[in-house]
Amino acid sequence: MKNYFLFVFCFLAVVFQLSVLGNFFDAKRLPDLVLIFSLTLILSLGFERSMVWLVVAGLLLDAGSNWRLGTTSLALVMLGMGLERILRFAEIRSRRFLFVLLFGIIIAFSKIVFDLASQMIFWMTAYYKKQPAGIQAAFFSQDYFLKIFYTILIGYFTYYIFRKLSRKLFAPQPIVPKR
């Protein structure tokens, strides 16, 4: 039952990410639902218990994209391991605060790194080919902040719903003494 629930949650996150969100959000501002799913699982169940689902979510997402199969899973597992290390040392008691904080850092950082890398590729290509770079990556545009904002907003609701549901599903069963 628990695994079934987690599979449905994982499947819905990927399907919504691939096909539904694009109808409501500008492509550059799409919230990262699979990242939300992963963070929710890691914070709620711990890294060890959520590892299988991080792999499954990554594989499903890679199947619908042009990325090599397994790359997203690898990134999510590494992220989970890193998060667990942070949680072990940081003493942030409010999980909600930690959740929002981590989102902001991860998304802003990953997007900035991605765009910096793209820009570097443009510059290097232009340098070696002795041609103008042409397109410039739009750094710190409105899209950055809106994407982060939408992700945090949707993430907060997802996390809230998951916590509510998982309290019922994953609550420790009372031990009934044997007669």
């Binding site: 499947f11 990927v14 399907v15 919504f16 990410q17 691939l18 096909s19 539904v20 969100l21 694009g22 109808n23 409501f24 500008d26 492509a27 550059k28 799409l30 990262d32 890294f47 060890e48 590892m51 792999v55 594989l59 499903l60 890679d62 199947a63 619908g64 994209s65 042009n66 990325w67 090599r68 199969l69 397994g70 790359t71 899973s73 690898l74 597992v77 590494m78 391991m81 793209s118 590729i121 443009f122 080919k129 002795k130 041609q131 103008p132 042409g134 397109i135 990556a137």
Partner: protein, 268 residues
């Protein structure tokens, strides 16, 4: 001192090794059947949710646009009148064209055999890079077939075909390269994608004249694409430092990050 890993660390190491192996295998092209299988299983959900959410999004847009209906109506009436005038002019040109073809004993231009399909998924991490459509081998689609939207605007070409779905690389993807031509001057070049961010025409000879607002279309060279599909408009023209070729950025004619339905050209 005894050194040992915990059970959790072993699990982590094993997962990392397993995933690296999967990535290695998939880099050799062996992931195609797996991706095809997953997409076949998920495509009914993707399609249903895409259509349903598209309807909801359309309804929300409609609610948002109610306030602008009067202005939009006036614009549509004016546009309609302009189109009527354009229609008359085109009918005249068509008649002239047929007359000329008859005189030159040319066959009428062959119409494309199109396969309409819905976009059921789009890679959220690279919006201008690739899409998944709901038709595949069963509908006669093959790798390399061009994808267009209404009025012959090129948006990409099919890169992978599965039984009931297919993946397409969009024009703005860096893997995309299309033989292109500037409509006015006839200058030929290659339209290339720029990391999902835009489009550029390259390898245009220095002897050719290209300027802003020029229309770019497919040249049909190499036989991969039919001639005359609209690609976009020239934005900025650059001169390369070595002075061998000219380059220019292109504003794509269609917004490839927001596609709903596309047509695959099966025969041209």
């Amino acid at each position: 001192m005894k050194f040992s890993f915990s059970k959790k660390t072993w699990k982590f190491i094993f997962t990392i090794i397993l995933l690296l192996a999967v990535i290695f295998i998939s880099s050799r092209g062996a992931d195609n059947p797996v991706k095809g299988f997953v997409l076949t299983l998920t495509s009914p959900f993707l399609k249903t949710l895409r259509i349903f959410s598209g309807g909801v999004a359309g309804f929300l847009d409609f609610l948002e646009s109610i306030g602008n209906l009067k202005t939009e109506n006036e614009n549509l009436v004016r546009e309609n009148m302009e189109l009527l005038a354009e229609n008359v002019r085109l009918k005249d040109i068509d008649a002239q064209n047929q007359e000329l073809r008859r005189e030159l004993e040319l066959l009428p231009r062959k119409k494309f055999e199109l396969e309409a399909s819905f976009v059921i998924a789009q890679d959220p991490r690279e919006p201008g890079s690739s899409i998944v459509i709901d038709k595949g081998k069963n509908s006669g689609l093959k790798e390399g077939m061009p994808l267009i939207v209404a009025n012959g605007i090129l948006v990409g070409k099919i890169s992978e075909v599965f039984s009931s779905t297919a993946k397409a690389v969009l024009l703005t993807d860096p893997r995309s390269a299309v033989n292109a031509e500037i409509e006015d001057s006839g200058a030929k070049g290659i339209a290339k994608g720029e990391y999902g961010l835009g489009l550029k025409i390259d390898m245009v000879s220095q002897t050719e004249v290209i300027k802003e607002e020029d229309i770019v279309m497919t040249s049909g060279l190499g036989g991969e694409m039919p001639r005359g599909l609209l690609v976009g408009k020239i934005d900025k023209v650059f001169q390369s430092e070595d002075k061998l070729f000219q380059q220019a950025t292109i504003i794509p004619a269609a917004d490839v990050s927001d596609l709903i339905a596309v047509f695959a050209i099966k025969n041209f």
